[in-house]
């Protein structure tokens, strides 16, 4: 086991930043801590790194209790959102820092440090930037220097706090693919914090979804996306439409009240909230669903991306919006335009108990 977190709790005054968190991260695994701001993900990362201490609970790093171990002795590489490069040092000196502060007995020779730094520079594709200062680099370059600096001390774990949060969209994409490739090469136990679900899905082996200081779900990207444990995870991982439906009792067939051919819930039936992803919506210009559909007016068409995003307003309940994502072909074939009235029907729905 690489990193083991057992029943960690942390209070900031009256605010519970972390509430009984337990988590196991295998060695060599790349895990994302995903959640909105204030969910406790950064606090958890800082506790693992040793920059913050937990009020209760235990941290084990490679099987050894680490609660009382100073940050500098935990063998972690840490990457900050805003790089935290030493601005008065060159790129070379930044990367070499962790090696040069070692006591004489364990400090590598000057030549060895030089070789290691240049190997790292090569790895982050910045060979020719060794004598630059941080302010002479772009954001993406700075973050790669920060990563090289963290890796220079040959840590057993790499912790990244919103590593791409301060970068623009294109650089962010590039860097996260690069991070994934790098991880596949060096297989360092890695944890990164992000609030961007797409980033977590794309990069991580496993995703830990957090909210309000608690873990909502732990699973592979596939698991958390397709089998969300609760409404929060479902909500956080993507856009959705919400309908009202009823069931005779839990587990029996689901009927939507929102359909044009209204089927009011019989007395005693259980009313449930029903969710569907925008890409799970069928859209037709004529009502081919036999009344089992919702009439909606096309408010906006966003053609950017693989699927065309339609923003719809229900005809019967103006103000209630729907989102649908359908193929470019379907839009063209049916000649769907702004202000048209279309009929939509969720293809796949999901209900959550206790929501």
């Amino acid at each position: 086991m690489g990193i083991e977190v057992r029943n960690i709790g942390k209070q900031f005054g009256a605010f519970a930043a972390l509430d009984n968190i337990s988590l196991s991260i295998n060695s060599g695994e790349l895990v994302a801590l995903l959640g909105p701001s204030g969910s406790g993900k950064t606090t958890l990362l800082r506790i693992i790194a040793g920059m913050e201490s937990a009020d209760v609970g235990e941290i084990l790093l490679y099987g050894a209790a680490a609660n009382n171990k100073p940050a500098g002795e935990r063998n972690v590489g840490f990457v900050f959102q805003h790089y935290a490069l030493f601005r008065h040092m060159t790129v070379f000196d930044n990367i070499a820092f962790g090696l040069t502060v070692r006591p004489k007995e364990t400090r590598p020779s000057k030549a060895a440090i030089r070789e290691r730094v240049f190997n790292l520079l090569k790895m982050v594709h910045l060979e020719n930037f060794h004598d630059r200062y941080p302010h002479q680099l772009s954001g993406g370059q700075r973050q790669r220097v920060a990563l090289a600096r963290a890796l220079a001390v040959e840590p057993k774990m790499l912790l990244l706090d919103e590593p791409f949060g301060a970068l623009d969209a294109k650089v962010r994409q590039e860097l996260r693919r690069w991070l994934r490739r790098l991880h596949d090469e060096i297989h360092l136990t890695s944890v990164f914090v992000t609030h961007d679900q797409e980033e977590a899905m794309e990069v991580a082996d496993r995703v830990v979804v957090m909210s309000n200081g608690r873990i909502e779900q732990i699973g592979t990207p596939e698991e958390v996306y397709h089998h969300p444990a609760n409404a929060f995870v479902y909500d956080f991982l993507g856009n959705y439409n919400e309908f009202t439906g009823w069931q005779e009792n839990a587990g029996s067939a689901l009927n939507l009240i929102d359909y044009e051919r209204q089927t009011d819930a019989p007395a005693g039936a259980k009313i449930v909230k029903v969710f569907a992803r925008p890409h799970d919506m069928d859209v037709s210009k004529t009502d081919t669903f036999g009344g089992e559909s919702i009439a909606a007016k096309v408010m906006h068409i966003n053609p950017a991306g693989a699927l065309v995003k339609l923003e719809l307003e229900r005809v019967r309940n103006p103000g209630l919006l729907l989102q649908a994502e359908i193929s470019q072909d379907a839009v063209l074939a049916q000649a769907i335009r702004k202000s048209d009235v279309v009929y939509v029907r969720p293809r796949a729905t999901r209900i959550f108990m206790n929501s």
Binding site: M51, F97, G98, V101, H135
Partner: protein
């Protein structure tokens, strides 16, 4: 930008000329003229008299005393300023706001009061006076008193320069250093200090200028014993009161020189500081 817009955005030429001229005249009358007079008076009896005035044993000893006081007060205030700004910028603790207010106190209290405080504390009729006399320790009317008074009035210079600088820089770089295995001293020496070095130097310059030029506070605790407890500014007054104008202005010219050196050094330091920040 078209001409009419430009016209709307700038003041008319005559107003600009008047304002600039006024400023220059003001400065010339209130700052330039006194400086020129100090120099003229200092050399009014020629270079020989000037040199003689500056080589009097009492002047030499006043000069030495001034340097000694500054040499003690400035380093102590550097240590204090670093400690205070480090604590204020990098940690959260109860009483922080009070500490910030207290640091500013010497700026808001009249220097005479600052000196008086030490007389009340350590003077012959004070609570500690008896004890000090019995142990033959002299603070008031002696060098320790001068140092204490000087430390008090120059207290805020370094801290005030560093606190905003360190607050702006935050703690991330220090955290990064610690995570990379640096110990406390290495973190301070190799990360914190280089980041604040120009700000620190700037604070030291101001602190030094004030330490050497302070009159009010040291005047109260000095006792004005010629050759023993008179610093340069005090000695200027003594000479002037003795109608020894050439010597008074000659010694004053030393302080003037200190002022110019400080100003030049300040200019260089702030240019360096800007350069270091890049962009």
């Amino acid at each position: 930008m078209n001409a009419s817009l430009k016209k709307q955005l700038t003041e008319p030429l005559w107003l600009r000329v008047v304002l600039i001229t006024l400023t220059f005249l003001f400065l010339a009358a209130l700052v330039g003229l006194p400086i020129v007079i100090v120099i003229i008076e200092a050399f009014s009896k020629g270079w020989g008299a000037y040199r003689d005035a500056l080589t009097q044993p009492d002047v030499i000893s006043a000069l030495k005393l001034t340097l000694l006081v500054a040499a003690i007060a400035v380093p102590l205030n550097v240590v204090f300023g670093l400690a205070a700004s480090w604590a204020i910028a990098k940690f959260e603790f109860r009483g922080k706001q009070l500490l910030i207010t207290l640091i500013d106190l010497p700026f808001s209290v009249s220097p005479v009061i600052s000196g008086l405080v030490y007389i009340l504390l350590f003077g012959a009729h004070s609570m500690m006076g008896d004890w000090l006399i019995r142990h033959d320790i002299q603070i008031i009317f002696a060098v320790p008193g001068l140092v204490l008074a000087t430390i008090f009035v120059t207290f805020p210079f370094v801290a005030r320069e560093l606190i905003p600088l360190m607050q702006e820089q935050g703690v991330e770089q220090e955290e990064a250093a610690v995570l990379l295995g640096a110990n406390g001293w290495q973190t301070f020496r190799r990360v914190t200090l280089p980041n604040i070095k120009w700000g620190l130097l700037y604070g030291v310059l101001l602190c030094n200028a004030r330490a050497m030029g302070e009159f009010g506070a040291v005047s109260v605790v000095s006792g004005h014993i010629k050759g023993e407890t008179t610093t340069i500014p005090l000695y200027v007054e003594i000479l002037y009161n003795e109608y020894n104008f050439v010597a008074a202005f000659a010694v004053a010219s030393l302080l003037l020189l200190l002022g110019f050196v400080t100003l030049a050094a300040k200019k260089i330091v702030s240019r360096q500081e800007r350069g270091q920040h890049g962009h």
